[in-house]
Subunit: 217 residues, 2 copies
């Protein structure tokens, strides 16, 4: 029962059969590869079709259009993102400051590990932000952060955030979000404007900043 039917076409992009067999999944896969190689804006639907070995019109049967495909990629990204934030949060145990700090590291770590995915996730013009499922998973990530803030500020779930705790949330979120964006651009430089490796940004720069992460109200 647990045996999985492995479709040979899943592996070989160059197929000979008229029907692909697993096109939807493979389009998601190659889309991710493309935005990784060429950036979010380097993505083209035709290139995705090409890599999947199908005609340019084939994707339309699985996704409304290019935006629909990218929406799905972003959605999957948010799912993983939320899960990693949650794991970090739980690793923090009962210490709210530690929960917040580990979430912050996980946030930036995700951005640097999956740069294209991360950028896509926050590029509203590239996906359908009206999509219900998308809004749901995005909101979930937000709520993981909110959870740690509530713990730090002693605001029980259900109650509205106080102005001060709201400020704390904004400060923490903006910090990691801004750092991630700067790190993925040409923003962050080392001494003498030298570009930095991702490892350097994560292991050297980020800890310096996190000294200033507001962790209590």
């Amino acid at each position: 029962m647990n045996s999985v039917k492995i479709n040979p076409r899943t592996r070989k992009p160059k197929r000979t059969a008229y029907h692909h067999g697993d096109l939807r999944q493979q389009l998601l896969t190659v889309a991710e590869q493309i935005i990784l190689e060429r950036g979010v804006d380097g993505f083209t639907l035709r290139e995705a079709a090409r890599r999947a070995g199908v005609s340019p019109a084939a994707p339309a049967h699985h996704f409304k259009d290019a935006k629909g495909l990218l929406t799905e990629v972003a959605l999957l990204g948010f799912r993983e993102f939320g899960a990693e934030l949650e794991a970090a949060d739980q690793a923090g145990g009962a210490d709210p400051a530690r929960r917040l700090r580990l979430q912050a590291i996980a946030y930036v770590n995700f951005a640097l590990k999956h740069p294209a995915r991360f950028q896509l996730m926050f590029r509203d013009d590239k996906h359908d932000n009206a999509n219900e499922e998308f809004k749901k998973v995005a909101a979930h990530s937000y709520r993981v952060l909110e959870g740690a803030i509530r713990a730090a500020a002693n605001v029980p779930p259900g109650e509205e955030l106080t102005p001060r705790s709201h400020g704390l949330l904004l400060a923490a979120w903006s910090m990691v979000h801004g750092f991630s964006h700067l790190a993925l651009g040409r923003g962050l430089r080392g001494p003498g404007q030298a570009p930095l490796t991702k490892a350097a940004m994560l292991n050297s720069l980020l800890p310096l900043m996190l000294e200033y992460l507001p962790s209590s109200i």
Copy 2:
């Protein structure tokens, strides 16, 4: 001597003469209008040429290509951005914490007032980041912030930033940069996921966050 020859073609996009007379400047103007109306990715070189009333190939004589034109727009944006940061810095007087806070407000204010320009400025793929003049003006904005940090941390110019002051810089920069990005996306929401006006984000949300702006070392 000081009388300025006003070229009528500067105002009327629909021109009849073969030569435009002020095409370079007008392309910069309409480019800014286009990215404001349609977003950074909504920009097309042909549309810019259309609005300037010239053929699709005309812009090539003033800018290498579409990227070249956008680079110039971003460069002009950075010039104004740097000037506004500098003005805010000076308005802070001798109080380092106040200098930092006013710069932070100016940073976010610029992003919300010129959303398209701001997004373009930090979209490395949309402009030629090897351009020397561009690097210069971008670096200038950075140095205005650095100045306030040096004052706050008591690090004289010339000396390298201490790790702690470097962290302070990263924290402040990331905060305002991240807030700006979230504010321009669909990230920041009010109670009940309701979208917020720019005024609300600037006047209600931002001050809450700035309570946590690290202002001393």
